[in-house]
Symmetry: C2
């Protein structure tokens, strides 16, 4: 390949050469992957999933889960401060998170990329190394994709398959009155990481100051999916009644569960798990950390509800926080403030239009 | 909704409202679709596929196929002359084509869209109506997706699942010496449709002249996947030894089969199926129609190889053309001209970089 200052133009490989280069040495680890990259389709044999893990005796109990996420430059990421390797890692992990949120196990992904001339082969190697690292850590196979030139920014579209035993699947629609509402990890931290990146980009492009705030950056740049919690809930014999991952912010996700389960909810401001560094930065930046926790998004933590009889089994599980309970639908979705005052929870969505 | 000259801004619905609006009234038809749009993932039960169609007795014989295609504005389509409904139809069908090319049946798709402010809700309704029409015609369920704002052009990423009996799947790697090489339909026609659209856009933007050439436009704007051929081959008791769909052009696809099957091939210029209208337009535009047929792309016809003993069963099948045969690898991939002269087949790929 013709190299120039460590930058190799994509044109030196061409479309097929590039795909071959990026996907060579991929070795499937999932028993269900019968054929990965290299044909019109990937081929999966879901009769061959890791039965010991899911304790599946009958192939007829297996369900296939499918989710997809589209990441667009300028909307979901800014390459001024997001390293391509981290971006690849995150793009894969956010999909795994959706599979775990159904109480499933991610097994395969396809990766589609739209890339413009300004990217070199080394850039794409970085992006792919992040995707492949995420796949390795979570035991997922990269089985296909589509790579195309783009007139504009970088486009990353990942679709993920997963498996679950039918009776294990948790939908958004199963929450019942008096169920406990739980979240994992902490909330608003990824959002504060983004604020920090934006602040340092504007103020100190040459010498950004992230000292003591590395955790916030990690939450924004390199989130993890909560596979650990799914495993612990299973070990503890707890099956959530409803579950989803927190990608758009707690408020919006709670409203989804209330809508689909036809219920109301009450959560308590003083129960929301908030990271100390995030709170300090919010203070510094004159932001309300509770608002950030409710609406920040991109935390990729789990929000779930479970039967109140599971309380004793739930308490010993690390990093799970009970923040409220499910109510009758006519009560709506409310948050109870530290002063005891009730406020209706508001939906947030895109603001890009 | 606030309407303005038949144009409703996306902001009037918001993200979740828009998704709900576009996906409401979707009724799954595939028995394998257990849960479609509306949760973190779609859920499929592939034990419940249409057994009568594939004659599957044992669920353990079922394989799941997965393919994905990314379509980017300015690269894959030009909205100056591509109606959004056609674009949606094509975006779905090109995925179905990949599933048929494995000798499978498409069953589910997810649709991810990146859309900028210049699109109205009516525009997205048009795009979705095309996607849904394709799904209806091919019996495929739309089970999920992701909708996002975009800073730039329209992005469409579709991933398709399908099913096949393991023993029915046809890979690119199974071609054997002396196998017949067959193509369906005609070649280069979609490319000539594109040339026509480009010519009329430049020359006669106000009054484009497409008379007598409607078929070329249809091939470019609204291609079909060759489900019919797959069914006929099955009825005739022919299982191709290798197969793929012709999306990048015959030359490039033949080289894939030769590479993956470790063989050479000889095809004959005078056997290439060429549409009359396409040939006339090529003449008019001073293009070599054979070059267009070899490298044009986007025909979404099938290229397959089969045992020479299937010849008698093959001949009665409408719209299948034998264009050559598989040779030893050391002979390479050659095309024999009308004058008997042999030329090596050259790969084409992207030229965008």
């Amino acid at each position: 390949m013709a190299k120039n200052n460590g930058r190799t133009e994509i044109s030196t490989l061409g479309e097929f050469g590039l795909i071959r280069h990026l996907t060579e040495n991929i070795r499937p680890v999932q028993p269900s992957t019968q054929k990965g990259v290299g044909d019109d389709c990937a081929v999966m044999d879901f009769g061959k999933i890791k039965n010991e893990e899911l304790k599946i005796k009958n192939a007829a109990d297996i369900r296939v889960l499918m989710t997809t996420d589209l990441l667009l430059e300028g909307i979901h990421f800014n390459l001024e401060y997001v390293p391509l390797k981290h971006l690849g890692y995150k793009a894969a992990v956010v999909n795994f998170s959706d599979i775990y949120a159904m109480n499933g196990t991610p097994t395969q992904i396809t990766v589609s990329l739209g890339i413009s001339k300004r990217f070199s082969i080394e850039d794409l190697e970085d992006l792919y190394s992040g995707i492949r690292l995420a796949c390795e850590r979570y035991g997922v196979d990269l089985v296909g994709g589509d790579t195309s030139a783009s007139m504009t920014g970088l486009t990353i579209s990942i679709t993920c398959l997963g498996t679950a035993k039918d009776e294990d699947i948790v939908y958004r629609s199963g929450a019942k009155e008096h169920n406990l509402i739980c979240v994992t990890g902490n909330l608003g931290t990824a959002y504060m990481g983004l604020q920090l990146l934006e602040r340092e980009r504007v103020a100190n492009a040459e010498q950004p100051d992230f000292s003591g705030k590395e955790y916030l950056l990690e939450r924004q740049l390199k989130p993890e999916a909560r596979r650990d919690i799914i495993a612990k809930l299973r070990e503890a014999g707890i099956k959530p009644t409803a579950m989803m991952d927190i990608s758009d912010g707690l408020s919006s996700e709670l409203l989804h569960i209330c809508h689909q389960s036809n219920c109301g909810c009450a959560i308590y401001e003083d129960k929301l798990p908030i990271d100390y560094q995030a709170a300090v930065l919010a203070e510094e930046m004159n932001l309300n950390i509770v608002t950030c926790a409710l609406n920040g998004g991109e935390d990729y933590e789990l929000l779930f509800t479970c039967d109140i009889n599971d309380y004793e089994k739930l308490v010993p599980i690390d990093d799970v926080y009970i923040i409220g309970h499910i109510t009758k639908p006519e009560f709506g979705a409310v948050i109870v403030g530290r002063n005891g005052e009730e406020m209706m929870i508001q939906a947030q969505g895109w603001k890009a239009f």
